[in-house]
């Protein structure tokens, strides 16, 4: 069945992309000028201790060998050891993934819930004031940086109304095994809102243009000619056709969402991957930087793969040939 | 010696056996004499457009050979096609698509004259301004049109600009691919009359592709009927329209809606 072949091709492309991405990350971090050991010990350090550090960190081995051992290790979950604390990167990073994951997951869930109805109204009522209002709001939302939205929310809800904490994070299940849902949500409301403002605005524009296109299609006019009202025709025949283009955007948007999360984590002092990544950059702990960036890129490539595969479920035309 | 010799030409799209594989042109042979007005008719998917694009070396046959002025032009390197390109010019179906919207009419019409390949072939007029005025006049367009953009002209005028472009390098052969199908009925007759006058005045050889059999009967002196990439029937117009040999041609002619005035 051709579907199997198409899926196989997509998996192959995913693996190749992952491999190329890992090579790019490794090369940028390790091949560029500037010696890690001197950076860590400071420029005044004497050459002997610098050379000793290089051996201990295995930096003296040829580039290819170091790359292969890094990738080999990753396959079994070992991403190497921190240059600073010698702690396993995986152990250091694992607890922080959950924080970023919650932030991104909530945003990816809520943004479409907001964008779909607003986008449809913006499309269907594009000639009346409701459509114009929806478009303008999404236009403004698009222009606000996520961290600025975060700061504004803090000023209003934390400083002003004092309803929510300005920053900090409480895990769903704290160290003593206690369930802390209220504190957990309280700490996530503002960060997720600031991400959703931007994400929902971006999605609204794509949903709007997808539905505007559907509204101009001949099959939509046929649907109305056989007796569906404008809105019911949109639900019966518009949504599935528009979903094809909207799904693409959700995939593409994950990369920008992850970036937004990294920045928002700093605004609200959330102990997520972003915070870990930035402190690793500050301390020149390059093996940690490599590891975290690899995780983030891996997440984006997985989502892109899932988006591609979901194409096949929605659009019957693609099922029998690998058309992009 | 014929102007065009097409022998056993086939064109397949997609590799044999794969899902999308289709044989657009299947073992077609025909010849075109100087001054002949050949009509190629057939329904969509009959391969008529693919055939003439191969004759104009815009597409290469999978097998078989096309000779123009006794030189092989199928599967020939672009830089060696100077003679063919300067002697054979095309008019396409939809003037909204065959004229570059970002170019003035003057630049569009004289573009062939600026092509290095055609200049090298030595058969192309060198004085562009004079040639521009000449060809615009021969298609009944005022010289002021040269500074206008295509979107400022009507459908009929745009098709005349396309014809002027085809005439600019003084070709021997004019290939018209559905030249009037995209035009309004009222403009169709004007363009057909223009084509007829130009072919007669310049002694051109005409190859016209159309799905409209009545248009071809009016303009062409000989016809090739194509179906699923093959030649169903070919011969002088009077014979093919008068006593068609193939059942398909008969069905085609019978399908043409006639004026049923009760």
């Amino acid at each position: 069945m051709n579907l199997g072949r198409t899926v196989a091709v997509r998996l192959l492309v995913f693996a190749a992309s992952l491999f190329v991405a890992s090579m790019a990350i490794f090369l940028v971090v390790n091949a560029l000028p500037g010696d890690v050991a001197t950076a860590i010990l400071g420029f005044g350090a004497d050459p002997a201790s610098v050379a000793g550090l290089r051996v201990r960190l295995g930096l003296d081995r040829p580039l290819l060998v170091r790359y292969l051992s890094w990738v080999g290790g990753m396959a079994s979950g070992d991403m190497g050891r921190s240059y600073l604390t010698n702690e396993s990167v995986t152990a250091l990073v694992a607890p922080r993934i959950a924080v970023t994951a919650w932030l991104v997951a909530f945003s990816m869930l809520i943004a479409p819930l907001v964008a779909l109805p607003v986008g449809m109204v913006a499309a269907v009522k594009r000639r009346s004031w409701q459509g114009a209002a929806a478009s303008t709001v999404s236009q403004i939302g698009l222009s606000i940086p996520a961290f600025y939205a975060g700061i504004l929310l803090v000023i209003v809800f934390a400083v002003g109304l004092r309803w929510l904490p300005a920053n900090g994070y409480t895990d769903l299940v704290d160290a003593h095994g206690q369930w802390r849902p209220v504190a957990f949500v309280q700490h996530l409301v503002l960060p997720v809102t600031s991400l959703v403002i931007v994400q929902a605005s971006v999605l609204t524009r794509y949903v709007r243009s997808a539905f505007v296109e559907v509204l101009s299609e001949d099959y939509f006019r046929t649907a109305r000619a056989v007796g569906w009202t404008r809105w019911r025709a949109l639900w019966r025949h518009g949504v599935r056709n528009a979903a094809i283009s909207v799904v693409t955007v959700i995939g593409l948007q994950l990369a920008t969402l992850l970036v937004g999360a990294i920045v928002v984590e700093q605004v609200f002092r959330l102990p997520g991957l972003g915070t870990a990544l930035l402190s690793a950059v500050a301390n020149r702990d390059l093996i940690v930087v490599q590891g975290i960036v690899m995780i983030l890129v891996f997440a984006v490539l997985v989502i892109n793969l899932l988006t591609d595969l979901s194409y096949l479920l929605i659009d019957p035309r693609l099922r029998n040939r690998d058309a992009r | 010696m014929s102007l065009y010799e097409v022998s056993h030409v086939s064109r397949r799209y997609g590799r044999v056996g794969t899902a999308g594989s289709v044989l657009a042109v299947d073992d077609v042979s025909l010849s075109v004499e100087p001054g002949q007005r050949l009509g190629i008719v057939g329904e969509s998917g009959s391969g008529k457009s693919t055939l003439v694009r191969m004759m104009a070396a815009l597409d290469a046959p999978t097998s078989g050979e096309i000779r123009f002025n006794d030189e092989v032009v199928s599967r020939r390197a672009e830089r060696d096609l100077g003679d063919l390109r300067s002697s054979v010019q095309l008019v396409f179906q939809d003037p909204r698509s065959s004229l570059n919207p970002r170019m003035r009419v003057g630049a569009i019409v004289t573009e062939p004259l600026r092509s290095r390949l055609l200049r090298a072939s030595g058969q192309v007029p060198l004085d562009h301004r004079a040639r521009l005025a000449e060809v615009l006049e021969s298609v009944d367009l005022p010289i002021e049109v040269a500074d206008r953009y295509p979107h400022e002209l009507s459908g009929g005028q745009r098709q005349r600009v396309a014809i002027a472009r085809a005439l600019a390098p003084k070709p021997q052969v004019l290939i018209a691919d559905e030249p009037v199908s995209a035009l309004d009925v009222s403009v169709r007759a004007q363009v057909l009359n223009l084509v007829r006058d130009l072919v007669a005045a310049h002694g051109l050889t005409l190859i016209m592709v159309s799905h409209d059999l009545t248009v071809v009967r009016h303009v062409c002196d000989s016809v090739v009927v194509m179906r699923h990439g093959r030649v169903e029937e070919q011969g002088p117009s009077a014979q093919v329209y008068g006593e068609p040999r193939s059942a398909y041609t008969r069905e085609l002619l019978a399908s043409i809606p006639t004026f049923r005035v009760t």
């Binding site: 000639r127 299609e217 001949d218 099959y219 006019r221 046929t222 649907a223 109305r224 000619a225 056989v226 007796g227 569906w228 009202t229 404008r230 019911r232 019966r236 025949h237 599935r240 056709n241 094809i244 929605i314 659009d315 019957p316 035309r317 | 329904e43 969509s44 009507s154 459908g155 009929g156 005028q157 309004d184 009925v185 009222s186 403009v187 169709r188 007759a189 004007q190 057909l192 009359n193 007829r196 799905h211 409209d212 059999l213 009545t214 248009v215 009967r217 009016h218 303009v219 002196d221 117009s237 085609l252 019978a254 399908s255 043409i256 809606p257 006639t258 004026f259 049923r260 005035v261 009760t262």
Partner: protein, 279 residues
Amino acid sequence: MSPLLEVTDLRVAFGRSHREVVHGISFALEPGERLGLIGESGSGKTVTALAVMGLLAENAYVSGSVRVGGRELVGLRDRDLAPLRGQAMSMVFQEPMTALDPTMPVGRQVAEVLLLHQHLGHGVARGRVIEVLAEVGLEDPERVADAYPHALSGGQRQRVVVAMALINRPDLVICDEPTTALDVTVQAKVLNLLDAELDAVGASCLFISHDLAVVSQLCERVLVMLDGDIVEQGSLAQIFNSATHPYTRGLVATARLDAVEPGERLPTVEDYYQRQVRR
């Protein structure tokens, strides 16, 4: 007997500038009668058809009166007009390749039209769909019903659209250039199909085309539209032999290519009628 479709002083304008495209046209259609609407692109013939069906874009301003089966349609809300469409009146469009929803099997799209206007079980509906697909001349209607639009040819898709338009036995069927995009052999078959099915259902038909010969296959009476006005109305014989308006005479002369000796100069519309707008 009161006419089935009665259009009085229909005006249609678009956009903020109220650019008028149809300038107050009037005509009537008796039950079971077939009326041809001839005109070139930009004559307003499609806008007229869409105005009757109430399918014009929102920025369209429609005035005058359109009465179908005695009911006034101009001014009705989409909610009130929708039940009539596909039931009392239906429409066949020009481009079969894009007329069907690419993500839904063809059979389900035909069944939708049925279930929208009649309360039937899915089993009964499926049977009725197969029946009507066979009626419009589709071999192996079972396979066609389960197929997606992209798997069917242009001719097959247009037959499905005709099936959708006729399945609820409407009183009025509007056809907007239904065979223009089809090959001449397929066109002949679809025109015969329409001729037979319209009689079988007893529906009247407003048939729009730029091609006089095609219209003469189905209609007894013809309206000629030019730049948003009806310039002439009459029976086929009147239009072909004794048209009063110069534009009509020009259209008839230039359409009859076969009446001219091959190679001779063709008559053009301009020989009969000078237009202000450059064509």
